[in-house]
Symmetry: C2
Subunit: 344 residues, 2 copies
């Protein structure tokens, strides 16, 4: 395990996050001592990726507990609820955020006194950190059978070490494939507008010695038509019981193109990314800010007064998804039967 690429760490009563807005130019860390800093880091995508956001938010509650001056359990729970609401409102689409916050709050409510609650919350957050790595390794193990020696695998956005505590979901599968001795090539998409593919996926795969290439988002169809892609694997911000997958904007059109070119399209996600209650039209798709699209590094790319579409996510319907890889195994269509079985 490469500790340098631990996206979320707990150290000296602080949360240490890799500052992903600085990559690939600089590998810098941000130290958060208050939950409000964690909330800002999630909003501004210093930390991003559904599982990493979940664990960071759990530690946010741990920081809120640690800093609380409450004198009773009730007061502590009230302080935690304030932090919970702030952290919960940072981003609306990835479900791991809500899952992690609920899990910590449940633990808090179970405690009897202030000290045991504080200890339980921190223990639970540390467990979730460790679990995240274990879960990713299981996803990697389960998914590695789907990728063959010699494959060229396309991946979108970053579902890697940097989207999780470490190892990654979709890129965890590719790490496992490599550990099994299969030779593969990876094509990362740029992933406009935030460029997670260029900045993060290319960075971490290069860092780990993968054969990695980068393609503009406009070139995906052309590469597929020219027979240069064998498989597609992506992560997920939310998976519904019906098998609808919410993931980084651009995922849906890659799935359409994969279907059209008979290329298997795989999603890798932990059970913490599943939402068995919501229907497709109930999921909020976050619309992000104007200047993610209008400028890069101070360079203005768009004339003033032009309206911008900047949805952060899109929805891929189940009929476009060949299989979903989880820590409990691989599921296929019909998803409304196979997905609930994962939770039994």
């Amino acid at each position: 395990m490469n500790i340098e690429l631990m996206t979320v760490k707990w150290e000296d009563e602080s949360v240490i996050l890799i500052d992903q807005t600085k990559l690939p130019s600089k590998l810098e860390y941000v130290r958060c001592k208050r939950y409000e800093q964690i909330a800002d880091c999630i909003k501004n995508m210093v930390v991003r990726g559904a599982p990493a956001i979940g664990v960071a938010a759990a530690f946010g509650l741990a920081l809120a507990a640690l800093k609380s001056k409450s004198k009773s359990k009730e007061e502590l729970i009230k302080d935690l609820e304030v932090a919970y609401n702030t952290l919960r409102s940072t981003r609306p689409t990835a479900v791991n955020l809500f899952w992690a916050l609920e899990r910590i709050m449940k633990k808090a409510r179970e405690g009897n006194d202030i000290e045991s609650i504080k200890k339980n919350i921190l223990d639970e957050a540390l467990t979730m950190l460790k679990e995240d790595i274990d879960v990713n390794k299981m996803i990697g193990f389960n998914g590695s059978s789907l990728i063959d020696d010699g494959d060229t695998v396309l991946t979108h956005c970053n579902a890697g070490a940097l989207a999780t505590v470490a190892y990654g979901t979709a890129l965890g599968v590719l790490r496992a494939v490599k550990e099994h001795g299969k030779k593969i090539s990876v094509v990362a998409t740029e992933t406009r507008p935030v460029m997670q593919g260029s900045r993060l996926t290319a960075f971490e795969l290069k860092h780990d010695g993968f054969d990695v290439s980068l393609a503009p988002d406009t070139a995906i169809g052309s590469l597929m038509a020219r027979g240069m892609i064998n498989k597609v694997i992506v992560g997920a911000d939310r998976v519904l019981k019906s098998g609808h997958v919410f993931n980084k904007i651009g995922t849906y059109q890659i799935a359409v193109l994969a279907k059209m070119h008979n290329i298997p399209f795989y999603v890798a996600a932990p059970l913490s990314s599943f939402d068995l209650k919501s229907k497709p039209d109930e999921v909020i798709i976050e619309e992000r800010k104007y200047d993610e699209v209008t400028s890069i590094g101070g360079r203005k790319l768009v004339p003033k007064g032009v309206r911008i579409f900047n949805p952060a996510f899109d929805m891929t319907p189940p009929e476009l998804i060949t299989a979903i890889i989880t820590e409990k195994g691989i599921v296929k269509q019909p998803y409304d039967e196979s997905i609930p079985r994962l939770f039994r």
Copy 2:
């Protein structure tokens, strides 16, 4: 006609080009006095767009003739052939470049003496400049019947005034639609990596008072799935007799997505963009340089040592194209019958 947005002009024995690499921040002009400058401007995309490249190259030969110190017709033709070869090798995909150079060389060979040849070449280039605007207006007139009041039309790259001498091909159709009093909205794609959609299409449509929005290339499928696009119209760098269209990278996948969502997909191109001889696999797809993808405005986006795919164009097969709009009328499938009829 807005003279400010004349992409190519002839003035005081010089060619004046809008410097498209500076847009949308600055509207600046480059003055070319030698054909080598024209060649550099085409290579570096100071001037781009198939029809604009054609006319600029024609003026390149006019400059070569003007500067030639030849004493005989044979010497002049030899000088012109040197310039022809330099200009011809600037970009390999758009066919208007070759069409324009051949047309000027034919005119040159027809002349009897040095002075008449020089005059004929310049007259021919000036005719081509004027013709380009007339042709675009005819394309606009012919295509406007295909767009309805209230439509939201997606366009990719820039097939506008800035891709031609003025008025545009695909955007010429939209200008004609607006002149006919129909209200439409336009969605421009960013068009990574060179961002012609953000920098040029959004600029010129905003300049002319269109209702224009910008979408990252990753959001196109999602916008279509949400019912936010009614029609697609793009330009072309080369159209084959079979109806295969070579255009800016990303066109092919937009055509696939349009088909999948039952959205009409139109191509607007002058007859000078048609190549009735080549087969699909004979067309060279230009692979452009690394740093178009790896950095924007000095900001490094990609870690060192990552391989880059940067094809400038892709091929859209005829079955994805609803109609092709030319100055001689609209053609539909089967293209191998309807396209040759345009040239009779």
